[in-house]
């Protein structure tokens, strides 16, 4: 497993669930791999099991068939090598920004001094210095998700799992936060798996976009994004960007229409 070795291996993974007595297959025979330091987006029609896949990568639920390996080991539960950024932020309403960001370190049993110091650094990294003592309800949606991002980064995970991280934000905030995640990732490269339903977001941030079919979710196609790194905001206006988005859309369209 070298610098560019495989970190995440998903092999023939299936997952079913029951709704009102009906057995539904969320994912079936899904296989893919993610290299170290790669930014991969997973996109697909709603109900394709994107979030289910992310929860399995996080170790919150288990596959019913197949196997997921992270860092060479089968996933048996949550681990310190992975951290999740949640769509609805999932902040503790009774904790300050500092308390929320330090929470994972508190779970790990770190002494208060150390966890607060590391939390402050993570908070500064996402541009929230000065808001340490604020409560979530005092912050805008964009700022709350920065807290969610800082909380994931504070444990310094090898892999960041993002579940529609900008899905609950308004368009302008989403744009800004995408720029910041891009800059942050380019400055501190990590393996990222992001679930999204926004094609432009997927193309803008990712090295590769995996397109899943509707229920049951399986890999329909993968698109290697041909945009050079490092990227910045100007990429959004390039012809290559528009082409790449069109490419993803052409695949997605047939799946959504089907």
């Amino acid at each position: 497993m070298g610098m560019n070795g495989t970190v995440i291996e998903v092999s023939e993974v299936s997952r079913h669930f029951r709704i009102a007595g009906h057995e539904l297959t969320a994912l079936f025979g899904l296989s893919f791999a993610v290299r170290r330091g790669e930014f991969v987006s997973i996109i697909g029609p709603s109900g394709c099991g994107k979030t289910t896949l992310l929860r399995m990568l996080a170790g919150l639920i288990e596959p019913h068939g197949g196997q997921i390996r992270v860092g060479g080991r089968p996933v048996r539960g949550p681990g310190r090598d992975r951290a999740v950024v949640f769509q609805d932020f999932a902040l503790l309403p009774w904790e300050t920004v500092l308390g929320n960001v330090a929470f994972p370190l508190e779970i790990q049993g770190l002494p208060r001094g150390e966890r607060e110091e590391r939390a402050r650094r993570a908070i500064a990294l996402v541009g929230l210095a000065g808001f340490e003592a604020s409560y979530p309800y005092q912050l805008s949606g964009g700022m709350q998700q920065r807290v969610g991002l800082a909380r994931a980064l504070v444990v310094d995970p090898e892999t960041l799992l993002m579940d529609e991280p900008f899905g609950a934000l308004d368009a302008q905030t989403r744009h800004l936060l995408q720029d910041e995640v891009l800059a942050l990732w380019q400055a501190h490269p990590k393996t990222v798996v992001m679930v999204t339903h926004d094609m432009e977001e997927a193309v803008y941030l990712s090295d590769r976009v995996l397109i899943l079919t509707a229920r049951p979710g399986r890999l329909a196609r993968e698109v290697a994004v041909p945009l050079p790194r490092p990227r910045d905001e100007s990429v959004r206006r390039s012809a290559a960007f528009a082409e790449a988005v069109e490419d993803v859309w052409s695949s997605l369209r047939t799946l959504v229409a089907a």
């Binding site: 919150l60 949640f86 999932a90 503790l92 309403p93 009774w94 779970i107 790990q108």
Partner: protein, 257 residues
């Protein structure tokens, strides 16, 4: 400027309260003095009876006795109610096993349980403490249970994703989320505990404030009975207010999530 506004608002709120009580007091005084209803002495006589009661040592002695039973029974009810409520909220098996009994006991009239308590604990203080316990226990249990069930599955999942075990989950996610409901249960519980203490003293062994109530009731001293009732109402109000104050200190974030 803002402080002045706050004071004025406070006064206005209190003024409404006073304005609501005054006409009732006046009407009560008029009816009482007219002697239309022998069971309704005027408030001035009730107040005088209260002062006379307070002047004799008996009231304080009996009052302390009642408060002691109240404190013991309520503390037990709060401790047991919290533990059972949390266990029922977290573990399906406990819920299935105990939920039925909680529902059953909660819906039987509390006074109907008193004779059973006498059989169990005899005619002494233990029965009164047990009465207080039974009056307060179920509402605290049910509210704690409901509070634990309101904890957001998303927050639980978040904590688990960072490796939290059941203990951290309980202390840092589930209990804080349940606190508003738990305090609602404690507030209701303390009110019922006061009921239980007085009822127990009246039905089991004629002691404490309940004993005084029985004594003056038997002597047709409506003024003293009403003075005692007002005292009980005041104590219950103060205790519920104290729980409410504690709640506002502990649950500052409530309703802002």
């Amino acid at each position: 400027m803002r402080d002045a506004g706050r004071v004025r608002r406070w006064l206005r709120a209190r003024a409404a309260g006073v304005a609501a009580v005054l006409p009732v007091l006046v009407a009560w005084e008029v009816v009482g003095r007219a002697g239309l209803l022998p069971a309704v002495p005027p408030p001035s006589r009730v107040a005088a009876a209260g002062v006379a009661l307070a002047a004799r040592g008996q009231l304080w002695q009996d009052g302390l006795r009642t408060l002691a039973a109240l404190a013991a029974g309520f503390a037990l009810a709060a401790a047991c109610g919290l533990v059972l409520g949390v266990l029922m909220g977290r573990f399906r098996t406990v819920d299935a096993v105990c939920g039925l009994y909680v529902d059953l006991f909660q819906s039987t009239p509390a006074a109907a349980k008193v004779p059973v308590l006498v059989l169990l604990f005899g005619l002494g203080r233990a029965s009164i403490v047990a009465t207080v316990f039974l009056f307060a226990f179920f509402v605290i249990t049910v509210n704690t249970y409901a509070g634990v069930r309101t904890a957001s599955p998303r927050l639980i999942e978040m904590a688990r994703s960072f490796g939290a075990g059941e203990a951290v989950l309980l202390r840092r996610v589930i209990l804080p989320a349940a606190l508003p409901m738990i305090f609602a249960g404690l507030r209701l519980g303390i009110g019922r505990a006061v009921n239980g203490a007085v009822l127990g003293e009246m039905l089991i062994s004629i002691v404490g404030i309940g004993g005084l109530l029985m004594y003056y009731g038997g002597a047709f001293r409506a003024d003293a009975v009403l003075a005692l009732v007002l005292l009980i109402v005041a104590v219950a109000g103060v205790l519920m207010g104290a729980v409410g104050m504690l709640e506002r200190r502990v649950v500052r974030w409530a309703g802002r999530g």
